[in-house]
Amino acid sequence: MSGKEYRTITDVKGPLVFLNKTEPVAFGEIVTLRLTDGSIKNGQVLDTSDDMVVVQVFEGTAGIDRKTGIRFMGDVFRLPVSKDLIGRILTGAGKPRDGGPEIIGESNADIIGAAINPYSRESPEEFIQTGISAIDCCTTLVRGQKLPIFSASGLPHNDIALQIARQAKLLDSDEQFIVVFCAMGITAEEYNYFRHDLERTGALENAVLFVNLADDPAVERLITPRLALTAAEFLAFEHDYHVLVIYTDMTNYCDSLRQIGAAREEVPGRRGYPGYMYTDLAMLYERAGIVKGKKGSITQFPILTMPGDDITHPIPDLSGYITEGQIVISRELHQKGIYPPINVLPSLSRLMNAGIGDGKTREDHKSVSDQLYAAYAQGRELRGLVAIVGEDALNERDRQLLKFSDIFEDTYLRQNRDEDRSITQTLEMAWDILTNIDTKYLVRLDQKWIDKYHPTDKK
């Protein structure tokens, strides 16, 4: 479009700039703002009409005044995409952050992304072994899944995400994942931790990093994950890579969304977050998957910290409604010194059934997992009862379940940060700990699996 520069700002409010009487400006169009001190900011059109245009400024509106010049760039936000993205570290706005050259794109991709036609999806069903028993047995991950980590401040979610990134593999292939890492408002310290770990293991060469840190512009966070996913889609669907997208922290992203909503004086939804947050998050999370006719895949690992450890808070709540399960990190287990402190009970992998069983993991997997859940859930519940009535008031079955729940946490959940258990090990350990309960109480197990796999009762 025209290189015409407007100086028609009427209002500035929070991250928004209002201006009037322009040439027709497209919805979603990219804008540059030249401040009186010569510095440049970027923004995007949120609302456009014959009289008024509303622009959201990514870097915040500090320093903007009525004399600020505004140019409409005639296009929506695009990321230059190329295989050269691999190994690069970029800012939250997609500019080089590693001192390297600008990315020359094979093409420029619209970062909003188009919805995958549901008819064109392939069901994700390839088991990814993470080497973490709690995940592999109880909340199994498959390639192309979106499985967030619901955590809270002070818990080792980063360690878990990194351990998964290091250990994740398909059983019968040594194809590497390309990691696309997207930081949104995390601290420099956290970011360095991630970067060093990726460097240490050599994964950095096979990674693309988009980095918006805590002291970077908050509104920029709204585009950072879109850039990351655009890069991921390009690598997966144009170049056949299997991409693992880790983004952290979704909570910061949502807070930026809330900030825009407030500045636009929208009717807020629960806890002040916009009513369209579900749709907005879906437009990120649904960019995971496998599509017909393409070899690559996108697996997503969003990390979010639950404000006040509250799983009903809108951020985890809306996420859980969109993603294909969740891995919930527990403060209680963490305080008991258990790593990884994954509470399997509220955790879930919705795609698990497609990825386990005969020919994938092992025929008894589903049965064993169901039995672990049932026994652990009952054992944990009994802990509360025992605190009141004492262990003597329990019958034999309950006593066994109670003891089992401790063993489950101590030996099954607990593993080292570099301990990479095979799925067979994971399932055998499960049978081992189940010997602490009389077979007659193990009603979730098919008889045929008991006959075949039970360490002491097999035929």
Binding site: T48, S49, Y276, E286, V291, Y373, A377, I388, V443
Partner: protein, 580 residues
């Protein structure tokens, strides 16, 4: 004013247009790319449009053209086995036209216009036909005969009727008044299709899900709501109903939910065999998939598109089951549009008309006498996704005021992997009295009594559990301990049902009844044995009981269950002797 205007403002999916002559709900083409939209508000000179496709890049000043039509669906042979977006564009056609990602500005007919069908007339020249009357049939899929009807509002004496091979737009029948009828009809989605009268439901929609059929049955033509937090089993329950319920036609609406869940249905259904017909389930299914990341305006429309298709099959005299997963996402689409319109918000930002829209939707369910004189029904099952699982919110409350069956899902049960995690204490169905007669005649004369016994045992258990929480179960008298064991058996053996287990996934009513009877038989025999001096532990742990419990995962359980019960009772009786 003319049928052409120009864009004044764009705010997400909502576009304001000046200079256009438009009626409410007219369909318009927006901008240079001709995006599809619908007039949803008139405002002085201006018309407000909700656009069914993404609007980025559209500018003020671009043209808008009024088609003069309202949002309607194409009805005729070719609906079954299709998967559509919210405005009835076949996703398969969209894939052919634009690849795996949905871009915009593409039109697609709801049914294939040039596909040839074998039409068999069932009326003759000179016959008097009226609205809704069947004039002939087409074998649409292996199992479903498509009944071609006189569209509502038309009728008269048949002047000409043809048989043979036609596409859906060719004239197959002419009436004396000159009306020409083809197999294709169109119907505006926001208006219910007419019928003669509604009847009270008297037949259950048999689902093969024990807790549903046995404790909280839904009637054919009835309405049910399934509220529950994420991961509690709404979608699996809906899919189980889509798979196993004895409806003749299933309309499954994925409204603002996950893409992969639709893929799952698409890959599974063609392979699953309908227990009622022995043919693939896909033959009777129509799917609407407007996933969470697809345009919200089309999500708003998807529910209407689905229910209109359901009504069309009902009018043929079929029993249709419609699942909407999730009605909350539909309500949120209304909220999103409403807030863009700057309407005065009601509770939690939802528009004030939320509850009336919900009521109007569920009102399209029912068992009716169709215009053609047949008996047809639509059962509607709506999932509700309350924020934080708290059903005090407007969508849950609006739904519960209308539906007659409430299947309340409980996160705590889901966490223990007790599935379906339907809370047996808070759920309800208002249909049992209307259905008892049917159950007596078709399953067992004492079916209602068995149900009452089972549900009161669960009630008693919950009271006993309160005491157990204080003193432990060993402190209870022995008969109450037995009651707890029996209740555990109900929960673990009967109520729990694994949707992913090839045998357990479906139980016919006969088996359900036998399983319930087995539990009561255990109770009676255990009681006698204990009174005669047997130990509770011994009675509960007789090996044949374990066989009875585990047996349900094996084929032919229905044939073996009675002998397993006999064996169990024998062993229980000998537990007394062992004591002596």
């Amino acid at each position: 004013m003319s049928d052409k205007g120009s864009i004044y403002r764009i705010s997400g999916p909502v576009v304001t247009v000046t200079g256009i002559d438009a009626k409410m709900y007219d369909i318009v083409r927006v901008g240079d790319e001709g995006l599809m939209g619908e007039v949803i508000e008139l405002h002085g000179e201006k018309a407000v449009i909700q656009v069914y496709e993404d609007t980025s890049g559209v500018r003020p000043g671009e043209p808008v053209i009024n088609t003069g039509e309202t949002l309607s669906v194409a009805l005729g042979p070719g609906l079954l086995t299709q998967i559509y977006d919210g405005i009835q564009r076949p996703l398969k056609v969209l894939e052919e036209k634009m690849g795996v990602f949905i871009t915009r500005g593409v039109d697609a007919d709801g049914i294939e216009m040039d596909k040839i069908w074998e039409f068999k007339p069932s009326v003759a020249v000179g016959d008097e036909v009226s609205s809704g009357q069947v004039i002939g049939t087409v074998q649409e899929t292996e199992t479903i005969e498509h009944r071609v009807m006189v569209p509502p509002g038309k009728g008269g004496v048949v002047k000409e009727i043809k048989g043979g091979e036609f596409n859906v737009t060719e004239i197959i029948c002419t009436l004396e008044d000159g009306s020409e009828l083809a197999m294709l009809q169109r119907w505006p989605v926001r208006s219910p299709r007419p019928f003669v009268q509604k009847y009270a439901p008297d037949t259950p929609l048999v689902t093969g899900q024990r807790i549903l059929d046995f404790l909280f049955p839904l009637a054919k033509g009835g309405t049910a709501g399934i509220p529950g937090p994420f991961g509690s089993g709404k979608t699996v329950t809906q899919q189980q109903l889509a798979k196993w319920s004895d409806a003749q036609i299933v309309v499954y609406i994925g409204c603002g939910e996950r893409g992969n869940e639709m893929t799952e249905v698409l890959t599974e259904f063609p392979e699953l065999i309908d227990p009622n017909t022995g043919k693939p389930l896909m033959n009777r299914t129509v799917m609407i998939a407007n996933t969470s990341n697809m345009p919200v305006a089309a999500r708003e429309a998807s529910v209407y598109t689905g229910v209109t298709i359901a009504e069309y099959f009902r009018d043929m005299g079929y029993d249709v089951a419609l699942m909407a997963d999730s009605t909350s996402r539909w309500a949120e689409a209304m909220r999103e549009i409403s807030s863009r319109l700057e309407e005065m918000p009601g509770e939690e930002g939802y528009p004030a008309y939320l509850s009336s829209r919900l009521a109007e939707f569920y009102e399209r369910a029912g068992r009716v006498e169709t215009l053609g004189g047949a008996d047809g029904s639509i059962s509607i099952i709506g999932a509700v996704s309350p924020p934080g699982g708290d059903i005090s919110e407007p969508v849950s409350q609006g739904t519960l005021r209308i539906v007659k069956v409430f299947w309340g899902l409980d996160a705590g049960l889901a966490r223990q992997r007790h599935f379906p995690s339907i809370d047996w204490l808070s759920s309800y169905s208002l249909y049992p009295t209307a259905l008892d007669q049917w159950y007596r005649e078709n399953v067992a004369p004492d079916f209602p009594d068995v149900r009452t016994k089972i549900s009161s045992l669960l009630q008693v258990e919950s009271e006993l559990q309160e005491i157990v929480q204080l003193v432990g179960s060993d402190a209870l008298p022995i008969d109450q301990q037995l009651t707890l064991e029996v209740a555990r058996m109900i929960r673990e053996y009967f109520l729990q049902q694994n949707a992913f287990h090839e045998v357990d996934t479906y139980s016919n009513l006969d088996l359900q009844y036998k399983m319930a009877a087995a539990i009561l038989s255990f109770q009676d025999n255990a009681k006698l044995a204990i009174e005669a001096g047997a130990m509770l532990e011994d009675v509960v742990n007789v090996p044949a009981r374990t066989d009875l419990l585990r047996g349900r995962f094996e084929e032919n359980y229905g044939e073996r269950i009675e002998s397993l019960v006999t064996k169990m009772n024998k062993q229980i009786a000998s537990a007394v002797e062992a004591e002596d």
